[in-house]
C-alpha cells in the first residue's frame, strides 16, 4: 500500500514539473547534483530516499521498543530483563531475536491457502509502514505532505485489519479463524472512536495537515491542544485508550492472550512471518504515540517559550543551522513519543486483561458516546467562550493568529516572510517551512502561496 503514496509523491513532483521543479527541494538538489537522471529519474530517486528514511524510522523504533519492553517488563516484575547479549543492558537482544527468527524453518500448514498465508504478514507490515509517510518528523520533514495528512494516515492504518483477517482465515485452523475474527472486530470497532477523537484537534486547528497542526501549538505549553479546552483534555486520554485497543495492546490484547493459551491469528506462523506481525505491532505503537504527540502534546515544541524561541532563532531556516534546529526538534519529538510508548508498555504490565465482550462493550457502549459528546463540546467551546468572556481561547492568542502563512487566505499572501509578523508579544513563532534546504524534503512547498509560484 505504499504504492498510492508513491504515486502521490511522484505526481506532486510531476504537477509542479510543468513549470519548474520547485515542488520539492530534494528533487531540485538531485537534479543539480546528477543532471543525467532527468525528471523521472530524479523523482524516482527522491522517492527511494524518502522510502529508505521512512523505513529506517519504521524499523529502528520497533527494534528499540522490543528491547525496552523486555527491560521494563522485567523491572516491573522485580527482575532484570535481558542482561547478557551486547553488554550489561542486553542492548542487542532484539538483534539476537531477529537473527534467531530469520534462521527458523519456514513452516506453512498443508491445508493453508498458500497465497493468502504468505501475503497477510506483508499486508500488515505495509499498512503500518505506509502510515509513517504522512507524518512530519520535524518542521517540514514529511515524506508526503498533504492537506489531509491525518486522514490519509488513519486510512492507511486501517488496512491492517485486512491482513489480520486473512491471516486468521488462511491458517486453516479454527482457533486462528476465531482469533482473527475477534481481533478484526475489535480493531474495526475501535476505529470509530479513534476517528472521532482524532478529529477533535482538527476542529481546534482548522486543518488536517499535521505540520500546520503542530505549528499552531508553538510558543508555550499552554498552547498545546491538550490544554486548549477541557474537552480536548479528556479527548487525549480517550485517544490514548482507543489507540491501545486498536493496537491490540493490553489490556485489550486478546490475540496475545490466546496465543499463550490456545491460538490467535498468528498460531500457524513461525520465524520471519511471525516476526512481521510483531514488527508491525510495535511500529504501529510508535506511530499512534507519535500521532498523539503531534495532535495533543505540541509535537516538536518543548513547551517552554524560552527554548522555543531559541529553537526558531537558530539563524535562518536554510543551510546547516536550520538543519540543526530541525534535528533538535526531531529529537524532542522522538523523546516525547518514546515517553508515550513507555506508558503503553507500563500499562501492559500493570493492568489485567479484558474479555472480548468487555472490550466490545467498552467500545460501543462507553467510548463512542463519550467521544461524540467530547466532539460536540469541542465544536461549541469557542461559542461558549465568546458569549461569556469575549475571547475565543482561554489563554494565548486566538488561533487565527497562529495560522502558518501557508494556509492564510489570499489577501495575506503578500507577506512572504512569516517570522516578521507573528513573533510578537504573544510569543508565538514558527519555523520557516518555505525555505528550500538541500538535504531535506520540504513539505511546505506544496502549500506554496500564489505569489511564489
Amino acid at each position: 500500500m505504499i504504492s498510492p503514496v508513491l504515486a502521490k509523491t511522484l505526481s506532486d513532483g510531476l504537477n509542479e514539473s510543468t513549470d519548474s521543479l520547485h515542488g520539492s527541494g530534494l528533487v531540485e538538489w538531485i537534479l543539480q547534483a546528477f543532471p543525467l537522471l532527468g525528471t523521472g529519474g530524479a523523482l524516482l530517486l527522491a522517492a527511494v530516499i524518502h522510502t529508505a528514511l521512512v523505513g529506517l524510522f519504521f524499523g529502528l523504533p520497533a527494534f528499540i521498543f522490543i528491547w525496552a519492553e523486555r527491560k521494563v517488563a522485567g523491572r516491573i516484575q522485580d527482575r532484570l530483563g535481558p542482561t547478557r547479549t551486547g553488554g550489561r543492558f542486553g542492548w542487542l537482544q532484539s538483534l539476537a531475536d531477529g537473527v534467531k527468527l530469520i534462521q527458523k524453518e519456514d513452516l506453512a500448514p498443508e491445508a493453508a491457502d498458500h497465497l493468502l498465508f504468505r501475503v497477510s504478514p506483508y499486508i500488515v507490515v505495509v499498512a503500518a509502514f505506509s502510515a509513517f509517510i504522512f507524518v512530519p518528523f520535524s518542521d517540514g520533514w514529511t515524506a508526503v505532505s498533504m492537506d489531509i495528512g491525518l486522514f490519509v494516515a488513519l486510512a492507511v492504518l486501517s488496512l491492517e485489519v485486512l491482513g489480520i483477517v486473512l491471516a486468521g482465515y488462511s491458517s486453516a485452523s479454527k482457533w486462528s479463524l476465531f482469533g482473527g475474527m475477534r481481533e478484526a472486530a475489535q480493531m474495526v470497532s475501535y476505529e470509530v472512536p479513534l476517528g472521532l477523537t482524532a478529529v477533535i484537534p482538527v476542529v481546534i486547528a482548522g486543518t488536517m495537515n499535521l505540520n500546520d497542526i503542530v505549528s499552531m501549538q508553538s510558543g508555550g505549553f499552554w498552547n498545546w491542544f491538550l490544554l486548549h479546552d477541557p474537552f480536548a483534555f479528556c479527548a487525549f486520554f480517550l485517544f490514548f485508550t482507543v489507540t491501545l485497543a486498536s493496537n491490540k495492546r493490553a489490556p485489550f490484547d486478546l490475540a496475545e492472550a490466546e496465543s499463550e493459551l490456545v491460538g490467535g491469528f498468528h498460531t500457524e506462523y513461525s520465524g520471519m512471518r511471525w516476526s512481521f506481525f510483531f514488527l508491525a505491532e510495535y511500529a504501529a505503537m510508535f506511530f499512534v504515540s507519535m500521532l498523539a504527540v503531534l495532535l495533543f502534546l505540541g509535537g516538536w515544541w518543548t513547551g517552554l517559550p524560552v527554548l522555543d524561541q531559541a529553537l526558531v532563532a537558530l539563524p535562518g531556516g536554510a543551510g546547516a543551522w536550520g538543519y540543526l534546529s530541525r534535528v533538535i526538534a526531531m529529537v524532542i519529538l522522538l523523546s516525547k513519543t518514546g515517553l508515550l510508548v513507555f506508558v503503553q508498555i507500563w500499562i501492559r504490565w500493570t493492568l489485567p486483561r479484558l474479555r472480548i465482550d468487555q472490550v466490545m462493550t467498552t467500545c460501543l457502549k462507553y467510548l463512542v458516546p463519550i467521544s461524540c459528546f467530547l466532539f460536540l463540546g469541542v465544536v461549541t467551546w469557542p461559542l461558549i467562550l465568546l458569549s461569556t468572556i469575549q475571547s475565543s481561547t482561554l489563554w494565548g492568542a486566538p488561533l487565527g493568529e497562529r495560522v502558518p502563512a501557508s494556509t492564510r487566505p489570499v489577501e495575506m499572501e503578500q507577506q512572504t516572510h512569516p517570522l516578521n509578523e507573528r513573533s510578537g508579544s504573544t510569543g508565538h513563532s514558527k519555523m520557516e517551512t518555505e525555505t528550500v534546504t538541500p538535504l531535506v524534503a520540504n513539505s511546505g512547498t506544496l502549500h506554496r502561496t500564489g505569489g511564489e509560484r
Binding site: 498510492p4 523523482l43 491445508a111 492537506d147 489531509i148 499572501e413
Partner: protein
C-alpha cells in the same frame, strides 16, 4: 513518468478485477478485490482527488471488504467451500462481458471530448487559482468540506458562475462580470448540504436496519431448501 505510474496502477486495477471474475475461491476473490480497490485509490491520487482517494481506502478497503470477509467467514459451512461455476457458464459470461466491453470502449473512444466548447484539449476549465493550496495539487479537502456545508467558494468567489460575487454591490458587479446584475443571493451556486444531511440519516437508518436484520435470533432448526 505519469504514464508509467498510470499504466502500473491501471494494470493492477484491471488485473484485480479480472482475477475477481475468474477466481473460484471466495476469500481469494476478496483479496483480489482489495488489490483492485487499492489500485483505484492510487488512480484517484493520480487524478488529483486526494480526499476521495483517502476516503476510498478508509471506507472501501478498510471497511467494506472487511465486512465482506466477515460475511464469508460467518456463512461458510466449511473453511474452503467454493461454489463453482460450470465452464459453460463461464464461457457465456465471458462472451457477454467481452461484447459489452468492446461496446463501451468503442463508444467512449469515438467521442471527441475536446470538441465540447468548454473543454480545451483536455485541460481543465473550471479550475480556480485560489492562491493558496490550489486544488490542482490535490488539496481538495477545503473545497469539498465547504461544498458539503453549502458554500461553493470555488465557483462563487472567482465569478465563474453568472452570480455577482457575494460581497460586491450589485451596481459595481456589472463592471467586472460579463452578465446580469441580479441580486447575489439568488444566484449563488448550491452546495451539497441537503445531500449531506440525507446521507447522514440514510447511514443511521442503514446502521439500525442492518443490525436489526442480522441480530442473533433464538436458535431454531434451520430447514435446508
Amino acid at each position: 513518468m505519469h504514464w508509467f505510474l498510470f499504466m502500473f496502477y491501471a494494470l493492477f486495477a484491471a488485473g484485480g478485477a479480472l482475477a475477481v471474475v475468474f477466481s473460484q475461491n471466495i476469500v481469494r476473490m476478496a483479496f483480489y478485490l482489495v488489490i483492485s480497490l487499492g489500485a483505484t485509490a492510487a488512480l484517484f491520487f493520480l487524478l488529483d482527488a486526494d480526499f476521495v482517494g483517502a476516503t476510498q481506502l478508509l471506507i472501501y478497503v478498510g471497511g467494506t471488504v472487511v465486512l465482506l470477509i466477515f460475511g464469508v467467514m460467518l456463512t461458510s459451512s466449511s473453511p474452503f467451500s467454493s461454489i463453482k461455476n460450470t465452464p459453460a457458464e463461464l464461457l457465456q459470461g465471458g462472451i457477454v462481458g467481452l461484447t459489452f466491453l468492446t461496446l463501451l470502449i468503442s463508444t467512449a473512444l469515438s467521442v471527441n471530448w475536446s470538441q465540447s466548447p468548454e473543454m480545451v484539449g483536455g485541460t481543465q476549465l473550471a479550475r480556480v487559482e485560489e492562491g493558496f493550496n490550489p486544488r490542482q495539487e490535490g488539496n481538495t479537502s477545503r473545497s469539498i468540506g465547504t461544498a458539503l456545508l453549502g458554500l461553493r467558494f470555488d465557483r462563487d468567489l472567482a465569478g465563474q458562475t453568472v452570480a455577482a460575487p457575494v460581497h460586491e454591490h450589485p451596481a459595481t458587479a456589472a463592471q467586472g462580470e460579463q452578465t446580469l446584475s441580479v441580486a447575489p443571493a439568488e444566484r449563488l451556486s448550491t452546495g451539497y448540504l441537503l445531500p449531506f444531511e440525507i446521507i447522514s440519516m440514510h447511514l443511521l437508518v442503514v446502521l439500525i436496519g442492518a443490525s436489526y436484520l442480522a441480530r442473533a435470533k433464538r436458535s431454531r432448526t434451520a430447514s435446508p431448501v
